[in-house]
Amino acid sequence: MNIETKYHGTIELSDMAIVSFENGLPGFEHEKQFALLPIHDSPFTILQSVQNKDVAFVMIEPFSYFPTYEVELDDATCEQLNIQAENDVALYVILTVAEPFTNTTANLQAPIVINVHERIGKQVILTNTPYKTKHRLFPETVEAK
């Protein structure tokens, strides 16, 4: 099927490329099907709603930008996503791309967790975590911490 996207124009998408988010994402509860679309020659993967062209999130794999970042998935999450082993999982964080772009932040408190084999995903809200919704990608531009 063809879908319209925010960053990639109209693209053809196979059903196999669709990831289901049973409850949508907080703030986007009605968007339940997404495609993962890498942006060529960039570290970004776009989480694009299949139903709504304008709903798209810019994601990165966090571990090379936040080397100490750690996520422990609780039993409820593993059960919801039917996760059995670590290699079932792809994990991304959503960027809030700011202007100027040096103020861009990553939401480490609520990573996107995907069971790549079953193509089901969820934005997991971590509890009892030091991580927040805004971690700067370029902390060197902050004068005082």
Partner: protein
């Protein structure tokens, strides 16, 4: 909104499988225990709202800023290889 008064250790049953218990009361703080099936997500309201708000902000990225950011990240990666 349904309003119920509960004492310490008393509980509220919601539907067949959700239970909310008052575990402790200390001044203006109330500690609640929540028993719910695993498919029900339970969050502190302000955290859920913060995530909603962040998602809304995150959905507004323009292609231009994205290109600038991509360019900067690639440049940064080449300059300081870890």
């Amino acid at each position: 909104m349904l309003v119920l008064t509960r004492k310490l250790k008393e509980a509220i049953q919601i539907g067949d499988d959700i239970e909310v218990v008052v575990l402790a009361i200390d001044g203006d703080q109330v500690k609640l225990g929540i028993r719910a099936p695993k498919h029900i997500d339970v969050h502190r309201k302000e955290i859920y709202l913060a995530i909603q708000q962040e998602n809304n902000a995150a959905s507004l990225a323009s292609m231009t800023s994205l290109q600038q950011l991509s360019h900067r990240l690639k440049k940064g990666g080449e300059e300081n290889e870890r």
